[in-house]
Symmetry: C2
Subunit: 232 residues, 2 copies
DNA sequence: GAAATAGTGTCTCTTAGACACTATTTC
DNA sequence: GAAATAGTGTCTAAGAGACACTATTTC
């Protein structure tokens, strides 16, 4: 916790090394949001994706986890490499190379970030360094591609959830609406969730049955969930 | 051409930098093969994936192209980044970090490599440094994933080809058999090829009509080719 | 009752994959 | 004719997506 707000501590202007850049995504209200760090550069406010130099001997994923922990005070629920970026575009660390990561954070953990950090809707990012903008763009793509194969959406939900919760999470991450009946059929076919004997009422409307994530081990290469567009 | 056989020229033991590792794949006969470089290390023969240090100011893809050109004397037909690797495993450059690329090379270009280079079946690689083995493994995955969306198979064929040629190339790259009728239906739906008024006889059997790669511009996000298993 | 949300049944259309066939060549 | 390869027609099963419906709650 003491590390919070000092995300850039190790990210000097070391020309020889490289930076680790960590795009953290969280569902904030109805928006898929990105964690940005506010820096003051000669009196001007600048936003950056959290980054730092790697530590000697540290694996890339470990370093990305460390940077995420420094920013969040907690581990992201999922974290994966996006790639290496050295296109000559501007980066605040001054390094020629950056290795990008993307991770997701559940909303409750996301809300407890420090003063100089903020969640900004991915659809309305402020100006950030060009190389980092590319990392964010590709990071969003990585999440959307991986969504079918990794339990990213589940990791953002509490242990029990309704199928409407789950569908909304998928829709938020994908940035598009899904077809309700089809979503549920696919979920059933994928054997990913298990109903529990519990219902939750949101005030208005029929109470929703709750489920928990319980993937069937039988089919490993089976696609997780298949999606349809739009929906009633 | 003068560069050939000096692939490792820039790949010293610079702890501070990183290496660019280029996995080159080619269809050699019936085998999908990887280009390896033979080095002598204290009298022992060692095989490595071509690698070098990047040049200052050079974009990653440019560097990978340069390394491929040095090894092949030609550009690969397709080249894409695999990712960054710094897992602490062994790498001949001695760097902590490597950025991996994967590319493909048509057979005719592939056959003209120098003495200290050789094409080895991907299914039967010799011992290579652990980090490079991982880059090869992930590189093969990248090719297979991209095959649906990038004209990789076409880039490995001459301008005109039979549909059986094309299917065989897909099968080689994917490492599995495809279903003939389904392959052709998918190809038709994807509007990727155009028949030309020319046939080719292989000696035995009915002559095959020749086609050329002619993607329809209309549907950009349409999946390139959809595949089925096995086949008559 | 209306409004809101959860959940389902059924229809159509597309496609993967199997199967079996026809077509055209060399021997 | 047989063998080999190219190419196609049809059937089935699965799945996507639309549509409309039923079910259960609050107001």
């Amino acid at each position: 916790m003491a590390e919070r707000g000092r995300t850039q501590a190790g990210g000097g202007r070391r020309r020889g090394g490289f930076s680790l850049d960590v795009v953290l995504l969280a569902p904030i209200g109805e928006e898929l949001s990105v964690l940005l760090h506010r820096e003051l550069d000669r009196g001007r406010e600048r936003w950056t994706v959290p980054y730092e130099a790697p530590l000697p001997g540290e694996a890339l994923l470990e370093g990305a986890q460390r940077i995420a922990r420094a920013a969040l005070g907690a581990e992201p629920a999922w974290l994966e490499q996006v790639g290496a970026f050295a296109d000559g575009r501007r980066h605040p660390a001054g390094t020629e190379l950056s290795v990008g990561f993307v991770g997701v954070v559940p909303q409750d953990l996301a809300l407890a970030v420090g003063d100089d950090l903020g969640w900004v809707a991915a659809s309305a990012l402020p100006a950030i360094p060009a190389r980092q903008r590319e990392i964010v763009r590709q990071g969003l793509d990585v999440v959307r591609v991986r969504l079918d194969h990794a339990p990213i959406a589940f990791s953002l939900l509490p242990p029990t959830f309704s199928l409407s919760d789950l569908q909304q999470m998928y829709e938020l991450l994908l940035g598009r609406r899904l077809h309700k009946a089809s979503f549920r059929r696919s979920l059933q076919a994928a054997e990913l969730v298990e109903p529990i004997d519990e219902w939750r009422s949101e005030g208005r409307g029929r109470p929703a049955q709750l489920f928990r994530y319980a993937p069937s081990r039988k089919r490993k290469d089976r696609r997780a969930v298949r999606f349809d567009l739009l929906g009633g």
